[in-house]
Subunit: 349 residues, 2 copies
């Protein structure tokens, strides 16, 4: 039996206890945002909630500006992945009772800037006080015509694309979690791919954001669609150059920028070969360029050109790795290095 | 200058930094839920978010079942107060890493039971792990015809009503926070007044839920509408009998059940005298009985028959009282007793 991804098992277990809506379009895990047809018209509402808790407690996010920015962008990225147009966002803020005024202002400014960058209004929120900072955002969007993008229903032979350069999320994590890694890398402030998502609605078969890293995203898509992926020769050229520099300084090989759990918030999507001209046309009109990463395969797992193959059990093991705090990082990198050695060996054999 | 309510000042300050939606129907604080007209049709979306943080950290909520129940009901109560029909709820759960399976199951069961009680589906959620339990819910509803209920635009002479017996929230708090208070009072599991809110849409001028207690709710409505309220003779008969018993055991006078910050999640609303037959008709059809509490007055503050008068500064002082943990309770009750003495004296004078 294929090794379970613990997060999936948890979500399935928690969700199984709760009542669901018959008119909900997606099953559990089948899309980045929840999709509901509104009574009395053809509009589909897309809603999603994402709390910033573990990123703060693990030391990954220390700047309140980034916490505010990500409270907005993590949620908007889920709307982007279903091809929804944002209506607005709600923000529940748990502030530290002893927070400096400057920190509260930085949090609000991060929220504001992320909203302005994407043209998304803040509809409202809630404020609590505690001895630590936590936030929870909820984004609301609409799909007024056509179908939403979902994670399910791709076929072998389809082409795998992404919306932009990869590895920036895990490069940021390396800088943040490893004191000796210094860089001139621009600040990590990912922008939700709203316009890209909108232009994918007519041509992509499946879509998911890379908030948990590229390999976790591909593994999730593979499990849901009972397929695998082959990543093309030349994949390293799709990693952001700054991220490659950081990986080198951190003693990480480039694939680890795909394997780490802190993603770049790009979209991964597949397109049937005959729809590629439509994709190129739609992307051109929305002023972005799709990046071809590989193809959908019938066999499960992820094969990476010039590197090796990760089978589903390898991928479950990467995703289940408990990665809590700074002290775990060297051990985590040793684990990834051993896995790389094994996957490369098994490919040569 | 009227004394400020600190929570209002904070919300105004935080909100002033953020971009808003031109098509949003309510200004900051003007309704219990945010109201947005959806593009392309006449439907109004009502959305609200509420995190359960301080209730857990202060020791007010210790039972995970109650935390789950309130995560749903606190949000649905805000939908009820705008007269919206629930579409569903999203729940962001921050679970304790060492949580017992039974506690996680109790949390989920509380969410489930609150959803089943109100016919509301769970659309989705998010799960994090920390060393403490926090939750944040977001409820989504629609108003398909007519106008939403808001907190603003009532007139002196209108009649003040509530949807049910008062004082249960503060009675629960007394039992929970004071070890010596024991009771056979049924468990505190308030039910959002969804049906009541729907039937108020055609006749009520303003509406707000009592999640922060009756006096805080009336004070907020008074500030927003530049008016006051007179509470009728016989108001004590509208307090739940079990709550009165608890107040007596706790050494609280009955008005403290209105003054405390932990509300009963009923709706307070006003109706112009000529619309009272319409109210009675709508309520009868929805199988509930409106409870007359008093009237809207031109003069600010709250006068309570057979008791005294709280001016806006008194009310701000009650609402600004820092009430954090169990050890503060006797001091808080002494503060309320002194305030009562002063307000009764000033009325006699």
């Amino acid at each position: 039996m294929m090794q379970q991804v613990e997060e999936n098992a948890l979500i399935t277990r928690l969700s199984s206890l709760l009542p669901h809506r018959p008119s909900q379009l997606n099953g559990v895990q089948e899309s980045d945002a929840e999709l509901v047809r509104l009574p009395g018209n053809n509009q589909i509402l897309a809603v999603t909630t994402d709390a910033i808790v573990e990123e703060i407690e693990s030391g990954l996010y220390t700047d309140p500006y980034l916490v505010g920015w990500m409270t907005v962008m993590a949620n908007l990225s889920d709307l982007a992945a279903v091809g929804a147009d944002p209506v607005g966002i709600l923000v529940a803020e748990t502030l530290r009772r002893d927070a400096a005024e400057t920190d509260i202002a930085a949090l609000q400014t991060g929220i504001r800037d992320a909203c302005l960058r994407t043209g998304t209004p803040v509809l409202g929120g809630d404020t609590n006080f505690s001895d630590r900072l936590h936030t929870a955002g909820t984004a609301i969007g609409t799909i007024t015509d056509g179908s939403p993008l979902m994670r399910v229903r791709c076929k072998p032979g389809e082409v795998l694309f992404c919306t932009g350069p990869l590895g920036t999320g895990n490069a940021y994590a390396a800088v943040q979690m490893m004191k000796h890694v210094r860089s001139d890398f621009p600040p990590f402030l990912p922008v939700a791919r709203i316009q890209e998502g909108l232009s994918l609605r007519t041509c992509a078969s499946i879509c998911m954001d890379t908030s948990d890293g590229v390999l976790a995203t591909l593994d999730q898509l593979g499990r849901l669609n009972k397929c695998g992926f082959h990543v093309d020769k030349g994949w390293e050229s799709h990693i952001a150059p700054g991220a490659l520099n950081i990986a080198e300084m951190a003693g990480m090989s480039p694939w680890m920028l795909l394997a780490g759990p802190h993603g770049e918030f790009e979209l991964l999507f597949t397109v049937p070969p005959h729809k590629i001209p439509a994709l190129q046309n739609a992307a051109h009109q929305a002023h972005w360029i799709p990046v071809r990463l590989g193809v959908v395969t019938e066999s499960p797992g992820i094969s990476i050109a010039d590197w090796g193959t990760l089978n589903p059990d390898d991928l479950a093991s990467v995703r289940n790795h408990p990665l809590g705090c700074k002290s775990d990082i060297p051990q985590y990198l040793r684990y990834l290095a051993e896995l790389e050695e094994r996957c490369r060996t098994s490919t040569k054999a």
